[in-house]
Structures are given as C-alpha cells and as structure tokens.
C-alpha cells in the first residue's frame, strides 16, 4: 500500500471521526436539554459536562494515536486487572441508580468501570490471541481469556448491567471465531449461555417482562411495552427528513433516558431516515475500515487489534440502534459519541486513537485500490 493511500484513509477517517464527534455533541445537547432543564433548570447542564469530558477524551485520543499500537501489549494485563479491581470496587462502593450499581463517584464525576473493561478486554484479547498464534501454543490455552471474560461478565451481571454483559459476550465470541477455535467449542459455549440466560430470567422477573414487552409492546403500551413503543414512535415520526435538529418531542420524558439509551431514537425523529442512515454510514466507515485493515495488516497483534476496534464499535452501534428500532430487546447501551456519558465518550475516543495508530503505524500487505473510506 502506497503512503498516498494510507494518507487518504487516514484523513478520510479523520473527517468521519470529526463528524461523529460534532454530530454526537449536537445530539447530546438536543437530547439532554429538556431532561437537563427539568432536573437542573439549566438546559446546557449535560452538554457542558459532555464538552468537559471531551478534553480528557481528546487527550487520550492523541496519546493513543501517537503511541505505536505495539506498545499497547504492555498495558493488556494491567488494564484487565485494573478493570476487574474497579468492577469489584463498584459492587462495594458504587452508587445505586434504579436498583443497579454501575458507577463509582469521584468528587461528583461518576465513572463506569464497565466501559474501561470493554476497552481493556479488546486489547487483552487481541494481545492474547496474537501471542497464542505467535507462540503456536496449545488450543487449550484459550480457556484463560474465556475465564477472564467470564469473570468480567459475572461482575457485570452482579451490578446488574445486561447491556455490557451482552456486548462483552459478543466481543469474546468474535475473537474466538477469528482465532480459529473449533466450531464445536464455539457452539458449545453459545449453548452453555442458554441455561445462564434462563436462570437469569427466572431470577429477575423484569427480564421476562422486558422480553414480553419486546415481542408484543401493544399489549401493555404504558407498562412493559412503553419503552419499545415510545422508541418506535420517535423513530417513525421522523419520516424521511426528520422534524429538525432540536425539535423532537419524544425526548421530553416520553423516551426514558433519551440522552443515553435512546439517543438513536432521537436521531431518527430529528434527523429522519436520511440523518439516521448517514450516521450509520459514518460508523460503518470506521467499523468496516478497521475490519478491512484487519485482513491486511501484516503483524498478528495488529490484525487482532484492528478486528477488535471494528467489533468494538460495530457491536455497540448495532445493539444500541437495534434496541431503538426493535430488532433487539431493550437493554441499556450507549451509542459512542452520541450518548451522554463521560466514561463511554472517553473510552470511545481512546479506541478511536488506537484505530488511528493502526492506520499510521501498521504495515499493510498488497496493493488494494478499493477502499471503503474512499467512497466517503
């Protein structure tokens, strides 16, 4: 790959990233303003905090962009340990919101270790499977990452945070697949999760209600089907062009946590089909460029890392948007850059930095002229 091509990918992705950050900030303002006004009397309350979080996020972005990704391997194990420690700490010291302990408070700023855990896990899994391939270790060794992931998932389930659990489960399954693990084992792991899910549903009756509400929201539009229906109304009422940025009505307490878990529904309402599609394409550009790179980067860690970046954003976006358009049952996940939340924003920017480091530093193979980022 010529350096000109590399430059083109780099700058195209930079433009896409800037668009995501700018549009994301606009949507944070739009979707949080009524909520902020209602709670604090200041419509810019969350937007201002979002802007403050952008500073450490951008610092991390530049740090990781300029850091050769190879050096990340050194962080892999410490990061996982820190994540595990913080997750345990959350269960002890976390602040409880609506029956779930998901964040730790530091001087008014709350931090969600689950976001850090996602980032750490991607790097750890990339590192682990790269080494596994490099050292031609026995296939049985993959039990270690499965065990680590299992530990993280268990801690997340204790919070409980089903959205993050599902996300992390999807990450590890993705890595296991590309690492060439036997299909029987993968199927077995998938099946083994079934009893766990059944047990959870049995233990937490509201999970069952959520699923019922997902399947048939019209049956109880004010109860279990409320979230689903409000999200569909929001998205559907946007039409082709949307009602205009900032002019949506569903964010006014119709959508629960409109600025967090349902920001894509606000996008659908305000920016319409074209706007929502455009944002999906922006994400798609990052995701599929990363995946495209994972097939062409010549070093093993780089390819696993590129793959990790791709599915990190891909799964987050699919789960978030899938919930709002009723493809998946409701669970609270954020849309990177668009949902309000400091941890989510900072981690997403850090991950974006890793992505740019990959573009800058990796060695590509072949001379592939067609680039997804080129169509943008």
């Amino acid at each position: 790959m010529s350096s000109r091509q590399r430059l083109r990918i780099y700058y195209n992705c930079l433009i896409v990233s800037m668009l995501l950050i700018i549009l994301g900030s606009a949507m944070v303002l739009s979707s949080s303003a009524p909520y902020a006004l209602q709670r604090t009397g200041d419509p810019f309350y969350y937007f201002r905090k979002h802007c403050i979080f952008l500073i450490p996020g951008m610092l991390l972005f530049f740090y990781f962009k300029n850091l050769h990704y190879e050096k990340l391997r050194r962080f892999a194990k410490p990061l996982i340990l820190i994540s595990l420690a913080l997750l345990i700490l959350t269960l002890v010291l976390g602040t409880e919101v609506k029956g779930a302990k998901r964040s730790i408070n530091f001087n008014g700023f709350s931090f969600q270790p689950s976001e850090l855990a996602k980032f750490s896990l991607v790097i750890y899994l990339a590192h682990f499977f790269a080494r596994y391939e490099e050292e031609k270790k026995s296939r049985k060794v993959f039990i270690i990452p499965v065990f680590v992931t299992g530990a993280i998932m268990s801690l997340l389930l204790l919070e409980p945070d089903f959205g993050s659990t599902a996300t992390i489960f999807a990450y590890v399954m993705g890595f296991l697949i590309v690492a060439g693990i036997n299909w029987f084992i993968i199927t077995g792991m998938l099946l083994s999760s079934v009893p766990a899910v059944v047990y959870l549903i049995h233990k937490k009756p509201y999970m069952w209600k959520r699923i019922i509400g997902f399947i048939n929201p019209e049956k109880d539009p004010l109860g279990v089907g409320y979230h689903v229906i409000q999200s569909l109304i929001s998205t559907g009422s946007g039409g082709l062009f949307g009602v205009g940025l900032g002019r949506g009505r569903q964010k006014m307490e119709f959508l629960p946590e409109a600025h967090k878990d349902y920001v894509f529904a606000v996008i659908g309402e305000e920016l319409g089909f074209l706007g929502a599609l455009f944002i999906l394409i922006l994400f798609g550009a990052i995701i599929f460029t990363a995946l495209w790179m994972s097939r062409r980067v010549r070093d093993v860690f780089g390819r696993y890392l590129a793959f990790g970046v791709g599915i990190y954003f891909g799964i987050q976006v699919f789960i978030h948007a899938g919930v709002t358009v009723k493809v998946l049952p409701p669970k609270g996940t954020t849309l990177p850059f668009f949902s309000y939340g400091g941890s989510s924003l900072i981690i997403a920017l850090a991950m974006l930095g890793v992505f740019f480091s990959l573009i800058r530093n990796s060695e590509f193979e072949g001379n592939e002229p067609e680039l997804i980022s080129e169509i943008l």
Binding site: V178, T235, S237, G238, F273, L277, F288, F307, G314
Partner: protein
C-alpha cells in the same frame, strides 16, 4: 513482533470475512428497519406521535353583542380571566390555598384539595377585583387563561327579550337562545405540547386556528321605550299586585317590537338567583282569555260581511239574556244600543247578537283571518299557538262565548298583531325582534310584512272611529285617554277558568290600542293577570296604557293633532297625574 508472510494461509482471513459479512448484514437490517419505520410506517407513527405529544385546547370566542335599534348596548362579552394553578411551580400549597380562598371567598379545604392535581382550574370568570387582588399577591404557579364573561349592563332591562347565556357562553333563553348560532363565534384551537409525564408546556403552545368573534345583533327594541314600559308596569305591579303583567309596544306597520316586558322579571347577570317562572317571557309563552278585546274581531267580521249598519239598534235585554240554555250577562245593564254603542259600552249581549247574524262558519273564518290559534312566527323561543277550536268542534253555546272572547286563548302577540291590522290599514304584520345582524347575514332577514289584507279599509275607518270613542268619557277606557291624541283601543276583562268553571274572583284585565289614529305610530298591549282589587281592563290596564302611550309620544316626538287642545290637554293631563 511477528510478521506474517505474504499470503500466509490462516483461518483468520476466512473467519474474519464471515464476521464482517454478518456485521454488514446487521447494518443492512438496521437500515431496512429504519426504512420500514420511517418511510413505510411514517404516517401511522407521526399520527400517533401527534396524539400523545400534544393536547388541543379550545380558545373561547367572544360572543357577539346585542344592541337596541339605536345602537345602545344591551348585552356584551367582557374579558374575564379563568384561574388555573400549575401546581408544580407552587412552593407552598397550603399558603397558596389560604390566600386564594380568602380572595375568592371559597373554602380553604376545597382549594387545597384541588392543588393536589397537576393543573387544576380554581375558578372560572373572575371578577376584576378578584383578578387584581390575586395578581397583587404574586403567587407562584398561578395562571390566568383568557375567557369572556357575559355582561348585561342595563341589568333587568329587556331581560325576557335578551334571555341569558350560561357560563359556557351558550344562549339559554330569549334572543341569546334564538340567535345563539349568530352570536356565538367560532371557538379557536390551540395545540399545547406535553411531555411524557403529562405536563403541559404552555409557553410552547401554538394556535391552530384563531377564535372568530360572534356577530352583533341589533334588535328592533328601543331602549328608552323599553325602559318606559318597564317602569310603568312596575308601578302597576306595586298597586295591583297581580300574578303577572305583560306589555308590548309594537310598530303596527312593520311588526317591529319596540318594547316587550313582563313582571315578574329577573336579572340576566345572575339568572340562577330567580325562580324559573320569573324568567318566562309571558308575552310569548303564555295565553290569556281575551274577553272584550276580542269583540273587535267580531265587529269587524259583521261589518265586513255587511250584516249590520252602524246605527242599527239592538236590544241588550237589560243585561240578562237567556240564550241556548245559559244566561248571558252584561257588566252594566243596557236597553237598546246601536252598533257603535255596543262596542263602546262593550255589551256582551249586543256583540253575541251581532255574531249570530253571521253564524259560526263566517265568524271562524274571520278569526282565522287574524291568524288566531297560530304562531305569529316571532323570532323568540317558546311561542305558543293559543287555543282556537276548529269550528266543527264548537258547541251550540260557542257562538255566545267566542264573539266576546271566551272559549279562546290568545297570546299577547296575537292580540297586538290583530289590533295592528286596524292601525296599518288592513294587513297582518309579522312581529319580529331582529333588526339586523352585523356583519350582515342576509339569510336571516325576516319577511317584514304579510301582504294579506284582512279587513277592507272602509270597515277599518268605521271601526276605528268607534274604537276612538272607547277611549272617551262615554266609553269603557276613559282612563286611557291623552288629550291631543286620538287613541283607538279596547278594554278586556277576561274571567279566568278555574277547575273548568269561570271564576268570579280571578280575571285578566287587558287593554289594547294604538295611537295616534291619523298616523298610528305604536300599538300597545297591556295585560294584567289576576289583579287584586279593581279588575276591569278599563280601570287596571288602561291607565298603564295611557302612561306608556303618553311617554312614548313625548319620546318619539309625535306632535298632537290639535295644538291648543294638546296644550291645555297636557296641562290637565299633568294635573291629573299629580292628583
């Protein structure tokens, strides 16, 4: 760092490709879902969103005003605020309730209970005093919404004509009811966004359609004449303490009602304070037995048929005549009287003898010509037909009762329309109350005149000369006379039917007439129901007629026919009044 050799075969590429394709698929599903929701199902969701995101509120329209013929205001809508409280903004509900209760004079507990709702309405249509007092308190969460309040600035004046409108601005009685669709404007519509918790975001509301003010109505009423009539019947109300009084002043040529009043009356500003029967417009909704005033109809019929000459003499049997199994009485016994004396003295026996010359059929035909027993079609609600049995159902005795105004029931309107025939030269007018609507609504125009000629001019002239003598020293209605003006009129004293028998203690005293004879300006009817003490029409009703007629002539600046007589006349009249 381990580098892969070029094209090194690994299962990574194959498996990665698989995952990439499934992610592509996931994104395609999202896009397809968006397309389905936002393009195909857009209409449905947009409609649904509109339903939950907005509430529609009505904006009251100002009701049209009601004026008299000269543009004096009789009824109007004034702005009035309705008090709401947006309780979310209230700091101290107990204090707010206490303050509001003291200003509005409502129980504290009632208001405090309302304050537990989200957006309760505390009181509709505040008075200005209440509004300013609450405004001064600067209470948090208090919201005033625009509304209108019906005001009748002249109080009881013309109350039965105007009727009243209820708190929702809907006409309940009178002109307010009759022309409710004209007076009530079109309610506006405002769309208020609400949030998921049901809070209205009033500051963001948008007017969908503005309210349209109702149209104004100009009545044929003359406020001054109305006032005169009401003052005069009020005096009679005091002296005679009857059950009820009705009086009408009408333009005999056009049928325009210049005044119409009843006692008892009510204040349309506060109709609930009065019993329902006080609110009835008896002049339209009630009938009375006309008694002697009906003799005009009989006399006109006989004359028109040519069955009598003016000077022909009839034996009035000394006041007692045994006819068809009954004894017919006169109030005063008379011997032989000529035709005009019969009318002037109001002899029952003479009138019946006249009527018997033309017979049931012809008499009935003439009564029908005057449209008795039919609605006059006045534009006021609740009009009744009165009672007139078809001739087939008349008994043998009817010919001795109907000619003198028994066995029939007429409304004041029917009676005044009948006398107007003599005032205007022979045609029936259409009594009406609506002069015009502004901005104009041509479809509402009343057909002013019914061209039907009831009685020929010759007969009218003859009869008018006789009716003028009724209002003289020799007639029954000397007390109705006003020097300088020639008044044609007829007294009537009807016995009321009580338990199917004519009562000897309950009467209706009435007087009907018009003036001046040369160019009649007004027809006036006074009907006193169950006066106490004196009960003859000539004694009870005629003086009321005279007062109304005299003051109306002065107000209308109708010159007396004979200036010198008028001069001395008015002096004697004045002295008479001061007696």
């Amino acid at each position: 760092m381990r580098m892969l050799r070029k094209n090194e075969p690994t299962c990574f590429l194959k498996r990665e490709k698989m995952i990439e394709i499934s992610l592509y698929l996931c994104f395609a599903i999202l896009a397809a879902r968006l397309f389905y929701l936002q393009i195909i199902m857009h209409e449905k969701y947009a409609k649904f969103a509109g339903k939950i995101q907005f509430i529609e509120n009505q904006i009251p329209a100002q009701r049209g005003s009601i004026y008299d013929r000269n543009g004096n205001i009789l009824a109007m809508d004034i702005p009035a605020k309705t008090l709401y409280v947006y309780t979310r903004n209230v700091d101290d509900k107990d204090k707010t309730a206490k303050v509001l209760a003291s200003i509005l004079k409502m129980p504290v507990s009632e208001i405090r209970k309302k304050l537990d709702e989200k957006y309760p309405r505390i009181k509709r249509k505040l008075t200005i005093e209440e509004y300013t007092a609450i405004e001064k308190e600067k209470l948090k969460g208090v919201i005033f919404e625009d509304d209108y309040k019906r005001l009748y600035p002249k109080g009881k004046l013309a109350c039965h004509i105007l009727g009243f409108a209820n708190v929702d601005g809907i006409g309940i009685e009178g002109v307010e009811l009759q022309y409710n669709d004209v007076l009530s404007g079109e309610t506006g519509l405002v769309s208020i966004p609400r949030d998921g918790r049901g809070n209205s975001l009033i500051s963001l509301s948008r007017v969908i359609c503005s309210p349209v003010r109702g149209k104004d109505i100009y009545l044929t009423i003359d406020e001054r004449i109305q006032q005169i009539v009401e003052e005069e019947i009020a005096k009679c109300w005091e002296t005679s303490t009857p059950k009820k009084i009705s009086a009408i002043v009408m333009d005999p040529k056009t049928g325009e009602i210049l005044a119409m009043a009843n006692k008892p009356d009510f204040d349309p500003n506060d109709p609930g304070r009065f019993p329902a029967e006080f609110r009835k417009n008896y002049a339209v909704t009630d009938l009375f037995e006309p008694g002697s005033i009906f003799k005009i109809v009989t006399a006109a019929a006989v004359l028109e048929e040519g069955k009598v000459t003016v000077n022909e003499i009839f034996n009035c049997e000394g006041g007692k005549w045994f006819i068809r199994g009954h004894i017919l009485h006169d109030a005063h016994p008379y011997g032989p009287l000529d035709f005009q004396q019969i009318i002037i003295k109001s002899s029952n026996i003479g009138t019946v003898k006249l009527a018997m010359r033309i017979g049931d059929q012809t008499l009935y035909r003439y009564i029908k010509k005057f449209h008795f027993g039919e609605l006059t079609g006045i534009d006021l609600p609740g009009e009744i037909r009165g009672i007139l049995r078809p001739v087939e159902k008349w008994s043998a005795y009817s010919i001795t009762a109907i000619p003198i105004g028994q066995e029939v029931g007429v409304t004041c309107l029917q009676a005044i329309r009948a006398i107007s025939v003599f005032a205007n030269g022979g045609y029936l007018v259409q009594p009406h109350i609506l002069k015009r609507i502004e901005p104009s609504a041509p479809s509402r125009a009343v057909s002013l005149v019914q061209s039907e000629n009831v009685i020929s001019p010759g007969v009218i002239a003859t009869l008018n000369a006789i009716l003028a003598k009724v209002v003289s020293e020799e007639g029954t209605a000397a007390r109705a006379g006003i020097p300088g003006y020639t008044i044609c009129g007829k007294t009537g004293t009807g016995q009321k039917v009580e338990n199917g028998v004519y009562s000897h203690s309950k009467f209706t005293a009435s007087f009907i007439g018009f003036l001046p004879l040369q160019d009649p300006q007004v027809a006036i009817l006074v009907n006193v129901d169950e006066p106490r003490g004196a009960y003859y029409g000539g004694i009870v009703a005629a003086p009321v007629f005279r007062e109304i007629a005299w003051r109306a002539m002065q107000y209308m600046q109708v010159p007396p026919q004979n200036a010198s007589i008028a001069m001395t006349g008015s002096q004697t009249y004045e002295s008479k009044r001061t007696d």
